[in-house]
């Protein structure tokens, strides 16, 4: 089975966002860096928003055949 997603984890996104905000709030930062951090922060906010507004939960069922091979099917329960 393939991983659910190739994107960094949501937790890591939020951690990075925290870090960006903390650095922006610290004093020793020139506008250059601030702008770069801000752009990255905006991008991460956008990705976080995508996760938050994701479509309906996908429900699937996992079945194993006699040889032990896994099969994933849509679940309509």
């Amino acid at each position: 089975m393939s991983p659910a997603s190739e994107q960094p984890s949501f937790a890591r996104q939020l951690e990075r966002l925290e870090e960006i905000v903390r650095r922006l709030e610290s004093q020793d930062l020139d506008l250059d860096e601030a702008l770069k951090l801000f752009e990255e922060g905006i991008e991460r906010l956008r990705q976080a928003r995508e996760r938050l507004t994701a479509a309906e939960t996908k429900v699937k069922q996992v079945l194993a055949d006699h040889a032990g091979h896994l099969r994933v099917e849509d679940f309509d329960g």
Binding site: M1, S2, P3, A4, S5, S9, F10, A11, L14, L17, E18, I20, V21, R23, L24, E25, L29, D30, L31, D32, A34, L35, L37, F38, E39, G41, I42, L45, R46, A48, R49, R51, L52, T53, A54, A55, E56, T57, K58, V59, K60, Q61, V62, L63, A64, L70, V72, F75, G77
Partner: protein
């Protein structure tokens, strides 16, 4: 003397019974005269044979009876009785002809002690799990805060699964639920649950698993006191939430799991964050981000402040209307992007290396620099000194 003569006259191959005649007649008499009965007594000399049959004696102060309980009957019991245990047995008295012994063929066995065999089985399995360190609280793993893939081991048709799906959809839709359908009670349930738990190790990207069922009778829930299931739960490579629908009794499955939920709905709540809460946290980070940039730049400060007001307003809306306002928050954040700021007519001064020139001291009279506006850059030169 005639009677004596008659007596001896019968001592002949024709007149005497064989041993088998006696045991057969005794067996027939006992089986006909003593139907199946409940017998109470104390277990003594218990022995389980490789065949699975149990042999023991039942005794009281004055007498004892040999007993057998065949595998086909004893396999339904949660545990074997131990010597000294007071029990009730439902049995057919018979004669074991090969040994010429009176014997009880036991088809049901109940302990009269508190909790009986069920409790005994529970304690024995718990002791074995404790010995192997599987009940050590230090083994419990934290649940992942933002799962992407959750496995659910439960019945395909039960209310448990419907509840888990509904709660997950409401709280954290950005997740994939993988259902591993199993029997959860009756013959074969233990095997089925163990098999499903074993499959979890082969699912890529799995964050957390829920195993359980809705409420039921004590007997129905007993499957989740299986030592094999408990060991299978302990072997799952991701954190496991146990949800065996009952509030009072704790099952072995609960004790081994990383988190015990009282119901399947509570399990889904434990497995997922609340989307509304997370949205508010993200919106606050967005506000801090905007304020952070404003601190760095006087020139954009005013504009950002104004946008920030709208953003904070958006957060309030997000609090009120949660999911419907989320995309709005995101849209307002876009407005804070530096490019959008340039679009409103602001420009950024850059030196030849692309560094931002933001202080008067950096802009010495006559200095050539580049001015970045929304659709490109232009060359510029500092005229007179400013204030």
């Amino acid at each position: 003397m005639g009677a004596t003569l008659d007596l001896f006259a019968a001592a002949s191959p024709e007149g005497a019974w064989t041993v088998s005649d006696v045991t057969q007649r005794a067996r027939a008499a006992i089986e006909a005269g003593l139907g199946p009965v409940w017998v109470r007594g104390e277990i003594s000399g218990f022995k389980a044979w490789h065949s699975g049959h149990w042999y023991f004696a039942l005794r009281d102060k004055r007498a004892q009876l040999r007993c057998v309980m065949f595998q086909k009957d004893n396999r339904r019991l949660p545990a074997a009785p131990t010597d000294g245990m007071q029990v009730f047995v439902f049995a057919r008295p018979t004669v074991w002809e090969e040994k010429g012994e009176l014997r009880l063929t036991v088809v049901e066995l109940l302990s009269t002690e508190r909790g009986g065999l069920w409790q005994l089985a529970f304690e024995q399995a718990k002791a074995a799990l404790t010995k192997d360190g599987l009940l050590d609280p230090a083994r419990r793993r934290p649940l992942p805060p933002y799962p992407r893939r959750i496995a659910v081991v439960t019945s395909k048709d039960g209310a448990a699964l419907r509840d888990i799906i509904a709660v997950t959809r409401r709280r954290w839709p950005a997740v994939e639920l993988l259902v591993l359908p199993t029997k959860v009670q009756g013959d074969g349930a233990e095997d089925a649950i163990c098999r499903a738990l074993g499959l979890l190790a082969r699912i890529d990207g799995l964050d957390v698993a829920i195993v359980g069922r809705g409420g039921g009778s004590r007997e129905d829930l007993w499957t989740f006191n299986s030592e094999r299931i408990a060991r299978a739960v302990a072997a799952v490579p991701v954190p496991v939430i146990s949800a065996v629908g009952h509030e009072t009794d704790v099952t072995l499955c609960d004790l081994v799991a990383d988190f015990r939920a009282p119901t399947p709905s509570a399990a889904a709540e434990a497995a997922t964050p609340d989307r509304g809460d997370v949205a508010v946290a993200v919106a606050h980070l967005g506000a801090r981000l905007a304020r952070g940039l404003a601190l760095r730049s006087d020139r954009v400060a005013q504009r950002v402040d104004r946008t920030l007001d709208r953003l904070v307003g958006a957060i309030d809306l997000a609090l009120e209307r949660r999911r419907h306002q989320l995309s709005a928050v995101g849209g307002r954040l876009d407005a804070l992007s530096p490019l959008k700021v340039l679009e409103r007519g602001y420009a950024v001064a850059l030196d030849s290396d692309g560094h931002v020139l933001s202080r008067v001291a950096q802009l010495t009279p006559g200095l050539g620099f580049r001015l970045r506006v929304v659709d490109g850059e232009v060359g510029a030169r500092v005229g007179g000194a400013g204030s």
